[in-house]
Symmetry: C2
Amino acid sequence: MTEQEFLQELKEINLINQASTVLNWDSSTGMPDKAAEDRGEVESYLAGLAFEKSVGPKIKEAVEYFSDEEHKKELSEVGLAAFELVKEDYELNNAVPADLMRDFSRATSKAYSAWHKARSASDFSLYRDELAENIRIVKELLPYWKKDEATDYDVLLNKYEPKMTSEKLDKVFDQVRDGIMEIREVLAKEGTEPNTDFLNRKMTEEQQRKFVKQVVADLGFDFTRGRLDNTVHPYMTGINNNDIRITTRWDEEFFPAGVFGVIHEAGHGMYEQNIDSKYAYTPALSGTSMGIHESQSLFNEIIIGSNREFWKKQYPFFQECAEGTFDDISFDDFYDSLKKTQASLIRVDADTLTYVLHIIIRYEIEKMIINEDINIDDLPQIWNDKYEEYLGIRPDNDADGILQDVHWSGADFGYFPSYALGYMYAAQLHNAMKNDIDVDGVLASDDYSPIRKWSTEHIHQYGASRKPNQLIMDATGEELNPQYLLDYLKEIYYSVYKVK
Amino acid sequence: MTEQEFLQELKEINLINQASTVLNWDSSTGMPDKAAEDRGEVESYLAGLAFEKSVGPKIKEAVEYFSDEEHKKELSEVGLAAFELVKEDYELNNAVPADLMRDFSRATSKAYSAWHKARSASDFSLYRDELAENIRIVKELLPYWKKDEATDYDVLLNKYEPKMTSEKLDKVFDQVRDGIMEIREVLAKEGTEPNTDFLNRKMTEEQQRKFVKQVVADLGFDFTRGRLDNTVHPYMTGINNNDIRITTRWDEEFFPAGVFGVIHEAGHGMYEQNIDSKYAYTPALSGTSMGIHESQSLFNEIIIGSNREFWKKQYPFFQECAEGTFDDISFDDFYDSLKKTQASLIRVDADTLTYVLHIIIRYEIEKMIINEDINIDDLPQIWNDKYEEYLGIRPDNDADGILQDVHWSGADFGYFPSYALGYMYAAQLHNAMKNDIDVDGVLASDDYSPIRKWSTEHIHQYGASRKPNQLIMDATGEELNPQYLLDYLKEIYYSVYKVK
């Protein structure tokens, strides 16, 4: 087995996956309605081809051969990075008995349908059994996935954020939760709520698109290597680093949804566009974890998107794109309106201050589900109690409560913390960046490239060749520290709410 | 080998081809510019997978097994239709030595680049050697492809239009050429040219799209199983019969280009949408020949698109879509303007009367190239002489002459006649349709479905399970007869040009 043979096999798997990614993008951006059934057949055939190869004889041989420390020395830096990722994946795929994988796949597919129905009916009982079955199978899978993690939940957490522990997260989340709740108290007591009436003024899709396409191009999203389309559920998908596609939905009566949505997805996109091309056709040509990926999208959305200098510079162009609709709104009123905070029941509608509380609630419940023998029937109430405790509001139905998220129907326990990690990483990276660059000055200028270059140098270029903890340590000089997020939120919100 | 195994292998080939078709569509409708290189790798990998399977052991076994007349009886109607097509293809792919196929592929790829450069420079000499090499290799391939065709050219002709002969075409084309030249003479002597000044009035892309999307939906193009996108070179591509994509380019200063372009492509699309789904995942789920395919697109474009009742019905809606731009133009003036005829040098810009002459010129030259030992250096002059003889105008450079078409650079000799066959089939089918349906009456009504249903019943549903000559015979009761085209052209143009 030579490195070249190994990389050739990876390339073939990658080429099939590139095809699948285009098909998947196509199916959500305008594929004719009635093409769905056939498309399902094509996608599952290609996924099967790629999976067969990924656990096939060539990859098996490569894993065995290069696991030998002497043979490993034959690998280049790229080959080694690819090998480590392939090995992790191969071991995960091969540890589990095929029967159990099939049960898992069947259970999640059933649970997804049940969740869909239950959410429409706002009735947790319609989903209860399927969720229980998902949990049962995940617990059966855990021993196969487990390496040296301290708790069962850590095993799941590490699938999305390698090397993160719940011991660490417990401390971090305690600190963030207390900090955010304190900020909210101060704002409630001493703050002045900004006016947001005008946010519902009509801004057409075309006007919004004109504005935000220019903004994300300014930020560094390269449209010669990417595109923007409309979809129902916005996302970023990377076919390869020269073909990065972001999608959005527009709300003509509430422009921030589309505008911040595109700025967010463009952050994901810039990450993938700027991965070093030397990793092409290997699994290293992708983000290293969900948490780091979210850090890049949220850097765009909450760090840049909350920055007064950024908006001061962009507001005249925004007004121009809106063709008069906001001409009577002063810059200060406009900026302040973007940062109003208010407790809400639905995670995806949450503002940047309260968002992390939604995640912490899910994290705490997930740990109970996985590490403890919780009664499934108690979940809705546990959920509602936590919302009351942390956010001061209580869902009065399951759709606005425990049924709002799709994740558990896919048995994706351990995924939620990534969102909060993204917030904290983004703020920590921002702080480190400020040591090298006058970020406010750059955002007040015509040339944002120093920011993009800093992120590329410290994060983007490495793709999945480095683990999240190493990236954060190298880029910021310390491990995950949530204080930077709290400081940033305090600064922004106290200023907007005129807290002395 | 069972029928089921055979069909399963065809299905897998088909699923790969569906993926390739989507990728190909994507690459011409908005793929980021810089994604082209990687995309080429993906497409060629998938094409390789499909090709390997199509000449692989399972197909070989099926071809051998079901070639036995007793075994053939084990096939259902669908299996048999698929088998006949697979066998033809397999024999064509397997007869030729692999080396020669590689030479062919290399030569055409080189010739394509040379043609591109030569056309830009309008200099045939830059392409002469590569064209000569294409011709040489095709002549080397001919013995492998040949079955019982009368001339070498017939072998090539049959790749695109099975069972057609040049003996037949010679007669047909003589009749059509003489007929069209006679019509042109009469128009020149006795006709009154319609006014076309207003055709260049600006009609925005959006206005044109609104009009023509409604028109093709009325004609029967099903947008729940298809879509319309923008592209540089318009085409129709069928992923499967539930996912048919047509593309167009718009000219805001000359609406007929986009409008008739979409009507044309929708004809191709309706053909594929209406193939019986029982042929799904087999090669029978596609058009049976280029000629029949063109007959369906041209039925839309020149039969319906030249029909006075059709336009009388649509004109108020057209005026509405144009938002006042054509309000001062009477219906008669509008309709007449669409049918102005004028000799032109470029085939793709030709009008419906002169178009077939362009094809006949190419047909005659192709026969000389393939059946005779013509001197390549004489080709530009032969081309120009024929334009002068048949159309009365002479190209004064190679770009407007022999270099205008891409086909020969791909060694696609024998393809051009399909375009003319499409014209003649369309008119012949129209004549047969009129025996069953009051076509003018239908086009004056709100419900065009009887026309679409007739075409589906007689042509569309069969896909590639029947040969062109059989379809035409069954649908019209006679073999190809060019008189119907001449009669139709005469009727339309004499009326527009007020010939008594």
